[in-house]
């Protein structure tokens, strides 16, 4: 046991009032209110499992409450694969304490010692057949008290649900078409809004005639505030028709120039930057270097490309109170930015979560919420629903940042690494709302007195870093220097997309290692194991090697590659082996992964997240690239921004290494880096060519072949 004083989990320390997490009702139910939100990852089910376990109630009695600023604990943002870590630990600790509070109250009432009592499905019983329950005691036991660090959660062996694959709570609604998505919720008197956004990047609205728009049946209002303009109508089809009419009356400025999409690395390296040394390791006994290898890796901007366009609803009461329904990842953070734009006190704004489609980071969910708030001002107190178009969703939301990474390795005479240097050029990976003194919502940049466009920053290394995420090697190289150069200009809007910089850094590190191992004539698995001390790391690598009978005998047209990382250097361990077929194009046939998240609360949920991450990463690697000319983003449809299709999806096999004794971490972002590297390494195995620029397409293969010949 550690001798340090026990402390509260971080989310519980920030929201210590127990009643804000759990409530019992006299009809035999318990409601649990996490501050994290469902974004398709199954978190709400995993949290319900933890609560049912700690409280000793049947799973079916637990009702999960959606996050709202009106009542929920403030857990910041649902991101960074932290929900199980933060919310899970808080729910477990809060429920453990609540259980002990009820046991003490039951002991008082029943006149027996608390240690003689047992709880089964909420019924508390003791010797002599005495019994009561949470529901009977609910009115007498106040949970309006602060959590203390004293409560002890159950030992692992006594957890009935955690560690088991419970069916997700939200899935039945989704297969039976029960209204659950924000897109499907009908509020009484609901109006429909659309916002008109420019084609050219950051063009200003210099003239607007709305006569034609006003003539469309179902028209309610047009709204214009600087370059922000939109319509409000009785129906969605009227809103679409009115927007089309409004567009014809709009005159835009030329906008701002975009970089050359065909040479993003050169663009990134030519911009003014803020440079940070991320980490330095100095060799105790430096060996002499015989030669230096230098390689450059790059990825393009990547779109979130959620299947649902972003949507929000807003309703004003009078001129100074507004209620917002959103699929934002952070209701409190969104409220902060809305307050800044509206110049209203926080308490005048209520932000409530409703489920949207899969969310992979800071997408336009927050932007559309401000759109709805601004349009609803013209709706005379009726609620207004705003939904973005597919084109706006693919062109006006924040993108995952393009990156260029240069790695140099000094090798000794035998080819062993003696020093490693890794430099990153990228826009920042975080411009989420609610964290600064200026809002980062799109319409905030468009209104008449606009806020300055926030140049994206990077979270500090202590929080996993941004562009530099996973740039510090996990291997035992004797010396290294890691540097990050964050751009101070931002012609293309960037913010958090799944893994931030980790996908690119792992791609670069793991591909370069493959090349160095090949130079030594060493098997890439053996090479990695030789440079890793951490047994959990070694275990995931050995597991995938075993599962694939590494290394399968070579066959013409087929290749195998491996990639490994520990997400954020502190989260889930993941190794991947890719089997590909390659000729003029690459087909990924099979991905085999092993993952260690510590205690897997819902193992099938972990597998689902890893499978999904692996398939999404395959899509990024083989297909995805935001396209633009010098004036505008051109990848504005699924034809222009293709993603992986059913017939192109590889088989995915996942092994979960269950470690019940270790606190759980998230799985949602663990696979992207290893899968990216594994595919690229398999391409080399198959075709003998190193592709260092994503995506790996017919064009980039040809370019890489020309470069290497």
């Amino acid at each position: 046991m550690s001798s340090a004083a026990p402390t509260l989990p971080v989310s519980l320390a920030a929201n210590p009032r127990l009643s804000s997490w759990v409530k019992f009702s006299s009809d035999g139910r318990v409601t649990v209110s996490p501050g994290k939100v469902e974004i398709g990852q199954g978190i709400v089910t995993a949290l319900a499992q933890i609560a049912a376990d700690e409280l000793d109630v049947e799973f079916g009695r637990v009702q999960m409450v959606r996050a709202t600023t009106a009542a929920s604990p403030n857990e910041g943002v649902t991101s960074g694969s932290l929900s199980i870590q933060q919310s899970g630990r808080a729910v477990r600790a809060a429920c453990a304490e609540i259980r002990s509070i009820f046991l003490a109250a039951a002991a008082d009432r029943l006149g027996v010692d608390a240690t003689a009592l047992a709880i089964e499905d909420g019924t508390i019983s003791g010797p002599g057949n005495v019994r009561t329950s949470y529901w009977e005691l609910a009115d007498d036991v106040s949970l309006d008290r602060e959590a203390t660090p004293r409560a002890r959660a159950k030992p692992i062996a006594r957890r009935a649900l955690a560690g088991h694959s419970v069916e997700r709570l939200d899935i039945p609604d989704k297969v039976f078409g029960v209204r659950r998505f924000i897109h499907d919720i009908a509020l009484p008197g609901l109006l429909h809004g659309r916002v008109m956004r420019p084609e050219n990047s950051r063009a200003k609205l210099v003239g607007l005639k709305d006569d034609a728009a006003r003539a469309v049946p179902g028209f309610v209002a047009t709204v214009r505030n600087g370059s922000f303009a939109g319509v409000v109508c009785e129906t969605e089809s009227a809103a679409n028709a009115t927007l089309a009419a409004l567009r014809k009356g709009a005159i835009w400025s030329d906008g701002e120039a975009l970089p050359d999409e065909n040479d993003l690395a050169a663009f990134l390296k030519a911009q003014p930057v803020e440079s940070t040394v991320i980490d330095v390791r100095t060799a105790q006994n430096p060996s002499s270097k015989a030669r230096t290898l230098r390689r450059q890796y790059a990825r393009p901007y990547i779109a979130h490309a959620s299947i649902a366009p972003s949507c929000a609803m807003a309703q004003w009461s009078g001129s100074d109170r507004v209620h917002v329904w959103t699929h934002s990842q952070g209701v409190y953070l969104l409220r902060n930015d809305l307050a800044l734009v509206l110049k209203l006190p926080l308490e005048n704004i209520t932000v409530e979560h409703l489920e949207g489609a899969g969310c992979y980071g800071h997408n336009p969910a927050d932007d559309v919420a401000l759109d709805a708030v601004l349009l609803a001002k013209a709706a005379g107190g009726r609620p207004v629903r705003v939904q973005w178009s597919r084109a706006d969703e693919l062109t006006h939301g924040p993108f995952g940042a393009a990156m260029a990474i240069e790695i140099e390795a000094d090798l000794d005479a035998k080819g062993e690494i003696v020093e490693w240097r890794h430099s990153i050029w990228s826009n920042g990976h975080a411009a989420r709302p609610g964290r600064g003194t200026k809002p980062t919502l799109l319409a905030g940049y468009e209104i008449e007195s606009p806020f300055p466009i926030a140049i994206s920053g990077n979270p500090p290394q202590a929080n996993g870093g941004g562009g530099d995420r996973n740039s510090v090697p996990l291997y035992d190289f004797p010396a290294w220097k890691i540097e990050s150069h964050r751009l101070l200009t931002m012609p293309v809007r960037t913010s958090a997309l799944r893994t931030l910089g980790a996908q690119s850094n792992v791609f670069a590190i793991e591909c370069f290692l493959d090349e160095i191992a090949a130079g030594l004539g060493e098997d890439p698995v053996t090479f990695r194991l030789r440079h890793l001390k951490d047994e959990r790391a070694r275990d995931v690598i050995r597991a995938v090697a075993r599962r694939t009978n590494w290394k399968p005998a070579p066959r013409p047209g087929t290749g195998y590659g491996i990639g490994y990382s520990r997400y954020k250097n502190s989260g889930a361990y993941c190794a991947a082996i890719a089997e590909i077929e390659g000729d003029e194009e690459i087909r990924v046939k099979k991905l085999t992964l092993a993952v260690d998240v510590g205690e897997a609360i819902n193992p099938d949920g972990v597998i689902n997240q890893i499978e999904g991450g692996a398939i999404q990463a395959t899509s990024w690697v083989l297909k995805e690239r935001v396209r633009f000319d010098r004036a505008r983003i051109t990848s504005n449809s699924w034809t222009e921004y293709p993603i992986l299709r059913f017939s192109e999806v590889p088989q995915v096999e996942v092994e979960v290494i269950q470690r019940s004794e270790i606190d759980p971490v998230g799985a949602g972002e663990a696979a992207h880096g290893p899968v990216t590297a594994a595919i690229a390494n398999a391409v080399f195995d198959c075709l003998g060519v190193r592709v260092r620029r994503l995506p790996i397409t017919r064009d980039s293969l040809i370019a890489a072949m020309e470069q290497s010949s």
Binding site: G42, F176, R645, V652
Partner: protein, 155 residues
């Protein structure tokens, strides 16, 4: 406005509407059926698929005139919690989704496939779903669920 007659989830339906209007707008708007989802508006993603007869079509770009006299089935008409379609049971059993926004259209494409080909191979399932997009990466689970539903229907 002209009147359009069709069957909707088994019930005779008559509606006055612009024949060039989109089926999805009608379903989600006036008829309040939110099973079919809007994803792109141009027939590219498949989130809005419904059955017209035995075929899964993208309702966002299906004009109303084209459904006159036809049988239209939406997710709401496929089955219910009380009487689930084998596909719905199988999607729950396989936990075949992450966010589930695309699932409505995928269930309809799968239902059309099973009507035309009750015992499809895995490759036939993938081909049949190739015009439905899923961004969360749940494709393999969905394929397993569809094969499971086909098996179940056959026994």
């Amino acid at each position: 406005m002209p009147s359009i007659r069709f069957h909707l989830n088994g019930a005779p339906t008559e509606i006055d509407a612009d024949p060039d209007g989109s089926l999805l707008d009608l379903l989600r708007g006036r008829l309040g059926l939110t099973g079919p989802h809007f994803g792109c508006g141009s027939g590219e993603c498949g989130a809005c698929r419904v059955l017209v007869g035995d075929h899964a079509v993208t309702s966002c770009d299906t004009p109303l005139w084209s459904i006159a006299g036809k049988e239209v089935t939406t997710l709401e008409g496929l089955g219910s919690e009380a009487q689930p379609h084998p596909l719905q049971r199988a999607f729950i059993a396989e936990q075949a989704m992450q966010c589930g926004y695309c699932v409505s259209g995928i269930l309809m494409s799968a239902a059309a496939l099973l009507r035309q080909n009750p015992k499809p191979t895995e490759s036939e399932v993938r081909t049949a779903l190739d015009r439905n997009l899923c961004r969360c990466g749940s494709q393999n689970r969905m394929v397993r669920a569809i094969l499971r539903a086909a098996d179940e229907a056959a026994t």
